[in-house]
Assembly symmetry: C2
Homo-oligomer: 222 residues x 2
């Protein structure tokens, strides 16, 4: 069986789960406590991060960028990276935006500080990081809202990996109660559309011990 | 004419320059002082980062990931991402390793602290970051050396974007005198091989005002 090693709140693992679900590729989930640095896992991915995907033919894939590009090459039905060269460049620019810029400016300041530090026993969240994370969220939601208002989906006329990447980061932060959806209506409407896709349901059913999501987390009409 | 907006010491811009050179795609270089936040540049890339590539047909490409994937799709001669699905996953895993993990643990601790802060008028390098950067360099060079000893090139039997990515980060750090090549012989031998490729020469000729590289920087027999 195809196995995806993950952590429930990892946006990078969520992105791969959403891509697999959109493509209707069946897989099994295994939680990998990366901070245990399990030897067999380090052999699969010396960076010791999730997601890692193992295929039935023995192929081991590490890193969400490598996995998502692989999925679109190996399972081209329901393409998630766009069709023309220009569309593909735009999808990838936005994937890099959310996995790079947004992750650095928002996700790591909030999710890492509040959730990962606790799990890894690295102390309390840093107040300055939390402040920066909340302050950075607003302009990012505005940019996302602007994209969603000027296009059908974030990168153009089709749902793409750009939507799945943005939704992965936002859904992880939403789980820990850190997204104020009143900041931008267009961003909220876009998220409601992504959230109501069948492939999103398993993510909304996730629960992490010790952290309960706010009531609107799994609500499709939030 | 095809134009690449860059900064001489940006590893991400260097990666694209190396990819263009390996593919023998002609282009013009323009230095973009991203900290000036020039309006026309922000329109091309709202993230306000280099590299940005503009094609003669008007296509604007932002972000090194989007650009490198585009180059391999638009100019498939001299492929840089591998051939089989497994090879391609390995190339991309290593690109992510150097652009993500290495960048976070080494490049940003040294290059950002010593060079970018000065350019942007953001004060002196943080001593703790410098210490972390130097400490992290050793295990990374060891991993790179191990890859170079067990394979012809970092990701397998052909030169790939993995080599160009690693060499971009190392060459930027080498310019500011921060690579101790005596730490790992295999890594040094691999770098000497990449460095002596014709496509590397323009990078070795770069000079940044106010910072002179060490004598070995442009020496092919360092």
């Amino acid at each position: 069986m195809r196995i995806l090693y993950h952590l429930p709140l990892s946006p990078y693992a969520r992105k791969v789960r959403l891509a697999l679900n959109e493509k209707r590729i069946p897989f099994e989930l295994r939680v990998e406590r990366v901070w245990d640095r399990r030897e067999e896992f380090l052999e699969m991915n010396p960076a010791c991060t999730v997601p890692v995907l193992t295929e039935e033919n023995g192929l081991v894939l590490a890193d969400s960028y490598a996995i998502c590009e692989y999925l679109d090459e190996a399972y081209p039905e329901t393409p998630l990276l766009g069709r023309t060269l220009g569309e593909r460049a735009e999808v990838r620019r936005l994937v890099a935006w959310f996995d790079g810029k947004f992750a650095r400016e928002v996700t790591s300041n909030l999710l890492y500080e509040k959730q990962m530090k606790r799990l890894m026993g690295r102390g309390n969240p840093d107040a300055g990081s939390l402040r920066a994370g909340y302050a950075n969220l607003k302009p990012h939601l505005d940019y996302l809202g602007w994209l969603a208002e000027t296009r059908l989906w974030l990168a153009g006329s089709s749902l793409s990996l750009a939507d799945l990447t943005a939704a992965s980061h936002l859904s992880s932060l939403d789980y820990i109660g850190d997204i104020d959806w009143s900041l931008n209506d267009a961003a909220k409407d876009w998220y409601a559309r992504v959230k109501s896709r069948p492939g999103f349901r398993p993510l909304l059913a996730d629960r992490v011990s010790g952290v309960n999501p706010p009531p609107h987390y799994a609500d499709l009409d939030f």
